[in-house]
Subunit: 412 residues, 2 copies
């Protein structure tokens, strides 16, 4: 098996040539990747079936579903790669230049990050998504997926490497770590010599482990304990629609709502009304003491208000004021997506300015925090940290800058 050191050094070398490859060549390689994935779908499905056979009984059925690839999902994967072809290439973009009094011209340009490592779980479609976005932005990628998907991932990576090599791109621009042990993951987190950035994609446990153990710079993604705050003056119908949508349209994703805060003045009318809607999906309500006096519910613990349920469960708290809502959110939230439903101009301004999160909403579902919905075209994840990128990360977020300084003998 190839050592991690070798994978890193090969990826670094590939990143240098890829950085100068130009859009036409990168787009040709992406198109070839998509084509090769379609042409080899039978092989991918065969390898995927082996993964599923070996995983069955060991992991939950919902995870088996995420792991499974069929013709339709493989086509979606190829469509995804082709969509990246049509996105503008961020590399080389001038971000401004100026001439200093001493005649030095200083130009700031957008360049690739270099080598991006991605640690993820059992979704093989991430393999193709991540490779497409990193290649388009001129970066080499080192992929480390979950052990359940290793045969599928290897099939997809082999196909993509073959395709880009034919287009004259170093196949080490896309590498897969085949050893899925915890040790290699930890070693990857400390491969500072070769890896410029590490992006974990997965559950809270994975993210925490990466943040704890990594010495490579990390972009934290995806944990979303998102709130909807229903203000004292607002359209209660709209509020109920938004709560229902944010909780129930896809409970397993990070931009789903996990907690509902209701102003005391509207709680008695609103809570029974929204409960009726949520009952349609058998949503379990974990309410504070005051909530329990208005609607039947499970008694919420303090921990519930910190929990991303990713399920048909919602915590509910009655608050006395906008201030209390904002403070509760800033204390319990994960800085992902937070929403106020209000008809008050002043309260909307206050909420937007004081809530500390990647995306702060007035009168819309938190479910829109997404690269596609924000108009970025595609996303590699949603950053919940503040360094480098915040919110949905598209191609630009996979770049850094370089200062080019043009002189004619200036000394200091």
């Amino acid at each position: 098996m190839i050592t991690l050191e070798k994978i890193g050094s090969d990826a670094k070398k590939a990143s240098v040539s890829l950085a100068c490859a130009g859009s036409a060549k990168k787009n040709a390689a992406l198109s070839a990747m998509a084509r090769a994935i379609r042409e080899n779908s039978a092989y991918i499905i065969e390898k995927n079936a082996e993964d599923i056979a070996s995983a069955r009984g060991n992991i939950k059925d919902t995870l088996i579903d995420r792991l499974t690839l069929d013709e339709k999902r493989i086509n979606a994967m190829a469509d995804g790669i082709e969509a990246v072809v049509s996105l503008p290439d961020p590399i080389g973009e001038g971000l401004g230049s100026h001439i200093r009094p001493n005649g030095l011209k200083i130009e700031k340009i957008r360049v690739p990050l270099g080598v991006i490592a991605i640690i993820y779980e059992a979704r093989p479609n991430v393999t193709a998504d991540a490779a497409a976005l990193t290649l388009k932005s001129g970066n080499a990628v080192i992929l480390r997926g979950g052990k359940e998907a290793i045969r599928s991932n290897k099939a997809i990576v082999d196909i993509m490497r073959g395709a880009i090599e034919k287009e004259g791109i170093d196949p080490n621009a896309i590498s897969l770590i085949e050893d899925t042990s915890r040790e290699t993951a930890t070693a990857l987190m400390r491969l500072n010599k070769y890896v410029d950035v590490l992006i974990p994609r997965g559950g809270a446990g994975l993210i925490r482990s990466v943040v704890e153990n990594s010495t490579v710079p990390v972009i934290e993604t995806g944990t979303g304990n998102c709130h909807i705050y229903v203000d004292s003056i607002c359209d209660l119908d709209m509020a109920a629609e938004i709560v229902y949508n944010a909780k129930c349209s896809r409970p397993s994703v990070c931009n789903a709502a996990e907690s509902l805060l209701v102003h005391k003045d509207v709680a008695e009318i609103f809570l029974p009304y929204v409960k009726e809607k949520l009952d349609g999906k058998n949503v379990e309500i974990r309410g504070c003491e005051r909530t329990a006096k208005i609607i039947p519910c499970v008694a919420a613990t303090d921990a519930d208000f910190y929990t991303e349920f990713l399920d048909y469960i919602i915590s509910v708290k009655i608050v006395d004021s906008l201030d209390e809502a904002i403070e509760h959110i800033n204390e319990h939230g994960t800085k992902h997506s937070e929403c106020i439903v209000t008809s008050s101009y002043e309260n909307s301004r206050e909420f937007l300015s004081r809530v500390d999160a990647a995306a702060v909403y007035v009168n819309a579902s938190t479910r829109f925090t997404d690269g596609g919905e924000f108009g970025l075209g595609a996303e590699i994840g949603i950053s919940t940290q503040k360094l480098h990128a915040r919110g949905p990360m598209g191609l630009e977020e996979l770049t850094t800058v370089k200062y080019c300084v043009y002189g004619n003998g200036q000394i200091r």
Copy 2:
């Protein structure tokens, strides 16, 4: 003594109000800080003298010099704070907005990072510099300076806190960790709940320790193993001036040159010529074998080519080609500042595009990599990593973004 947890939580609280403080209030606070530092210079000098008395004999004389404050240096500190007043406030700047087909308006705005921690060594002027830049950019700061400067730092921080409090700003916007043990530094590196970003400022050892131990996102700064490559076709007078300036004008700083690469075609003429110049400052030359055949020098070890000497020492290597120069730099450099001296258009393009560093120079001294010289007005450090910021970091680099999403009931 106040616990670190308490310092963190107080700083976080202060950061929330500071984020909404507005330029006028922040500028008034900065002016008050500068004034108070001038008015209390005698007190600062008294406390500084205690630091010096206790440090003498324990640290090198050059460090004693860095530690020492006199009337002139204190005025320079106050001048620095006043210079920050006149810089534009980055907070609230709109970075674009658009309306999605569903009517959602998505606006991206610049907001403070929140709480910035700074770990630094024995230079008390960093205390005032860092506090001014973080306050102007709406961030709370937690300062952890070296133990040698603790009395000076405490005096400066007390004075600044008093000044901003009178201007209605929460004094916890500027905090100093008075316990200078290694344990509190390590605990600060893991204070993820309250600290958004950690910026280490100091020598390679400090930076490495922070990168190794921190779970808080870090911006790595300042290690500079900078190269000057003298190409086969170039103005050799200019090359010698640039080498001399980059090495000798201030050898102890990160943008000083540490290594000279010379194309074989010009080595026989250039090396004796540049040596004569460098001899004027008794620069020790550590040369490769081929260099040793042309000029007298110490034999360079492999390690020398990886070393940031920060002294009157330079490593010298003869290379056969531009390619070899670029590869050597990408292998041995620290991605800080790299320079080619050339008269070839093609070679300048090649060097600019393939050398992986924050600042890449053609025909100018690397000593210009600096916030002031780049026209940023001030800097908090020079990032040598690629995430978030690269090169000199000014006020904008102390900010992040927030998406404000304006809806009228959109659900997904």
